[in-house]
C-alpha cells in the first residue's frame, strides 16, 4: 500500500496539463510506462471489501510487468482512495483521467459509486473496468463489467432453488439500488415459475438490529431466504437467524454478497451450511486458480482468502492487456473495438468478452459454506453463461426494463 501511495505522489508531481475537450482526454503513453488508475475505497465502510480488490489488481499488474508489460510498456499504477463516498469517486475518476491521463481505470464496488463515475467516464471517453456482481440493466460504452450481471448470478441462484423444490422465498436486502432491483427481478422470476414471495424487507445500510426481520421471516414459513444484504448487516442478520432457531437445513439462505472474506468476519458458527451464488470460489478447481491462490497468499499472507470480486478484478487487468495487444494501441476506441471475443484462462475458468454488451461470459456457481470458512461448489452452470444485462432472453423479465 505504501508503494501505491508513493506512486500516486510522484504521479501528482509530474502531471501534465490536460488538453481534453470534446474528443475526450487521450491517455499519455509517450513514455516507456503506461499509467492505469486504481480507484477503490481504502477508508470508510466499504474499505473492508475494496482493499482486497485493490490487492488483487496490484497482483495482476505485477504479474503483467514481470512478463514484460503491455505493448512493451510497464504498467505504472496510480492509486486513489474513493473513501466510500460517491462524490469522491467521481472527483478522483476525473483526476485520474484528466490529470494523470491514465489508459484505463480499475475499480469501484458499490453500484452507487459506479453510477457516480459513469458520467465522468462517458464525458471523457475513458475506460472503467468494474469488477463486482451488480443488478444489471446497464450498459455503458465506457465500462467493462467483469463481475456477474443478474443472469449469471441471481437467476442461476433461483434456478437452483427451484430445482431443489423450493416453492416460497422471503427476500431480505439492504435498502439501496442493488437489492431493490435484484428483488424486482426475483419477484418477476417467482411469478413466472410458480414460486411465492412471502415477504420482502429492507434494512438501511449499516443496520445491525435484525430481531424483527428474523421474527417476520420465521413466522412466514418460507422455504428459503434470498439475501441481498450488504456489509455489516449480514453479521447481525445471521447471528439473529441462528438464535431464532432457524437452520440451513430447514430454511436455507442464499446470499449474493457473502464471499470468503465476509465469511471470516461473520463466523462459520453462524454460516455453516448456508448457500451463496457467485462465479468463483477459492476452492474452484483448475491450474489457473491454483496459481492465482498461491500467488495471492504468497504476496499478502497465508490466512488471506481469495474471493469472487477479487478474482474478477484480477481478471479485468489481464483482459485489458489482451484487448490492448489485440488492438495494437492504448486508444480507448480501438481497445473497445478489439474487445469482442477476447478470452482469458481465468481462475474461474475460461471467460470470454462480449463486445456488444461489454460484459463477460462466466460460469455460474452455487456454493455451500463449510465449517472451515471456505465455500464448496454444489452446482454449476456447466458452461459459461452469456451475459444478458437487460434479461432480454427471458420472457418473464419483459416488464422490467
Amino acid at each position: 500500500m505504501t508503494l501505491v501511495a508513493a506512486v500516486a505522489m510522484t504521479a501528482c508531481g509530474s502531471r501534465t496539463s490536460a488538453e481534453g475537450g470534446a474528443a475526450g482526454v487521450t491517455a499519455d503513453v509517450s513514455g516507456d510506462t503506461v499509467k492505469v488508475g486504481l480507484l477503490n475505497s481504502l477508508s470508510g465502510t466499504m474499505a473492508i471489501s475494496e482493499v482486497t480488490v485493490r490487492d488483487a489488481i496490484m497482483l495482476a499488474v505485477e504479474e503483467i510487468n514481470a512478463a514484460g508489460g503491455v505493448l512493451g510498456k510497464k504498467i505504472q499504477p496510480v492509486g486513489e482512495d474513493g473513501a466510500s463516498d460517491w462524490p469522491t469517486f467521481a472527483e478522483k475518476a476525473e483526476k485520474l483521467i484528466s490529470e494523470d491521463r491514465v489508459a484505463a481505470v480499475f475499480g469501484c464496488w458499490t453500484s452507487a459509486s459506479r453510477k457516480a463515475v459513469k458520467p465522468v467516464f462517458e464525458k471523457n471517453k475513458a475506460l472503467l473496468f468494474y469488477p463486482v456482481q451488480y443488478e444489471g440493466l446497464e450498459q455503458s460504452p465506457y465500462i467493462f463489467y467483469t463481475g456477474a450481471t443478474t443472469n449469471q448470478q441471481i437467476v442461476p441462484g433461483l434456478d437452483y432453488l427451484k430445482a431443489q423444490g423450493t416453492t416460497s422465498v422471503y427476500l431480505v436486502g439492504s435498502d439501496y439500488v442493488f437489492p431493490r432491483t435484484a428483488n424486482k427481478i426475483i419477484k418477476a422470476y417467482a411469478a413466472a415459475n410458480g414460486m411465492t414471495v412471502v415477504g420482502e424487507d429492507y434494512a438501511p445500510l449499516g443496520s445491525t438490529e435484525f430481531g424483527t426481520i428474523v421474527n417476520k421471516v420465521k413466522s412466514s414459513g418460507a422455504k428459503a431466504v434470498f439475501n441481498t444484504l450488504n456489509g455489516d448487516s449480514n453479521v447481525a442478520f445471521f447471528k439473529e437467524y441462528k438464535s431464532a432457531g432457524l437452520t440451513a437445513a430447514a430454511m436455507p439462505v442464499v446470499s449474493v454478497s457473502i464471499a470468503e472474506e465476509e465469511v471470516k468476519g461473520i463466523g462459520t458458527q453462524y454460516l455453516e451450511g448456508q448457500l451463496t451464488a457467485w462465479n468463483y470460489y477459492q476452492t474452484t478447481p483448475g491450474a489457473a486458480n491454483n496459481r492465482f491462490v498461491a500467488a495471492y497468499k504468497a504476496k499478502y499472507g497465508a490466512d488471506k482468502p481469495t474471493s469472487d470480486p477479487m478474482e474478477a478484478a484480477y481478471v479485468s487487468v489481464h483482459l485489458w492487456k489482451a484487448m490492448v495487444e489485440k488492438a495494437g494501441a492504448f486508444d480507448v476506441e480501438r481497445v473497445r473495438g478489439a474487445s469482442d471475443g477476447i478470452t482469458f484462462d481465468a481462475p474461474e475458468g475460461l471467460v470470454t468478452v462480449d463486445g456488444r454488451t461489454q460484459h463477460i461470459a462466466k460460469t455460474a456457481r452455487i456454493g455451500r459454506i463449510g465449517a472451515d470458512g471456505l465455500i464448496t461448489e454444489v452446482w454449476n452452470s456447466g458452461k459459461p453463461v452469456a451475459p444478458d444485462p437487460y434479461l432480454k432472453t427471458y420472457p418473464w423479465a419483459s416488464g422490467l426494463s
Binding site: 429492507y202 438490529e209 424483527t212 421474527n215 455489516d232 453479521v235 447481525a236 461473520i266 463466523g267
Partner: protein, 295 residues
Amino acid sequence: MTVLFGQLFTGISIGAVLLLVALGLALTFGQMNVINMAHGEFIMAGAYTTYVLQQSITGAGLSLLVALPVAFVVAGTTGMLLEILLIRRLYARPLDTLLVTWGVSLMLQQLARDIFGSPNVQTRAPDLLTGNVAVPGGLTVANNRLFILALALAAVTALTLALRLTPLGRRIRAVVQNRDLAAVSGIPTARVDRTTFFLGSGLAGLAGVALTLLGPIGPTMGTNLIIDAFLVVVVGGIGQLKGSVIVAFALGVLQATGEYLTTLSVAKVIVFVAIVAFLQWRPQGLFTLRTRSLA
C-alpha cells in the same frame, strides 16, 4: 398473537442493548456533561477485548465470562487516559470537547484497523447462548438476548446501588449537583471526575462484550451505536439514570412495533419523529435533576 409476544420481547431486548450502550454515556454525558464522541470506540475496545481473549482462552463460555471484567478495565482505562490527557483540559469548552473526542474516535478506529485489519473479526459464542428457549404458547426467546437483558439489568442495578450507597457514589452525586460546593467541602473533584469517567467508559466496554453476541466486530461498530446512545440519554434527561432506563425500553418497543407494522426504515423515522415531538414538549428530557445550583 405469538408473533406479537415475540415482537414485545424483541422490543425489550432492543431496549436492553440501547440501555447497555447508553448507560456509560448516562454517566459521562448525563452526569459530567462531557459530549464524548469516542464512547462508541470504548464499546469497540470491549468487543476486541473479547476477540483477543478468545485467541488465548479455550472455551467460548469461559472467555466470555473473563472478557466481562477485562473489557471493563480495558475500556475504563482508555477512557480515564482520555480524560486525563484531553477532556480535563476542555471542561468549560463543550464544543471543543465534541470536536476533540470526534478526532480521538477516528484515531481509535484507525488504530483498530492497524492492529486487527479492516475486515470484521469473528468470535465464537458459547453454544448455550446461540440457542433459544421455548416459552409456553409456541414462542421462542433467544438465549443471547436473555443474557444481554440480564447483563443490562445487572449493570443498572449495580450502578444505581453504587451511586446511592457507596462513598464514591455520594461524591459523584455531590459533584454533579454542585461542583463548587463539593470542592469547598473537601471533595477532590478532579479525582471524582476521573473515576466517573473510568466507570462510564468501563460500562461501554461491557456493552462491547455483549454486542459480540449480536452484531459485527469491526473498527466502525461503535459509530453505528453512538447516535442511539446519545438519544436515549438526552430524552431520558440529563443527570438521571432512571430516565435512560425507561427511555431505552420505550424506544426499543416502539422500534420493534413500528418495524413489525411497517418497515425498518419507516420505524426509524417513527422513532425519530416521536423523539423530536417529545423534546419539543419537554426539552429537558423525561426527568430533570432539581438542584439549588445557580449554574
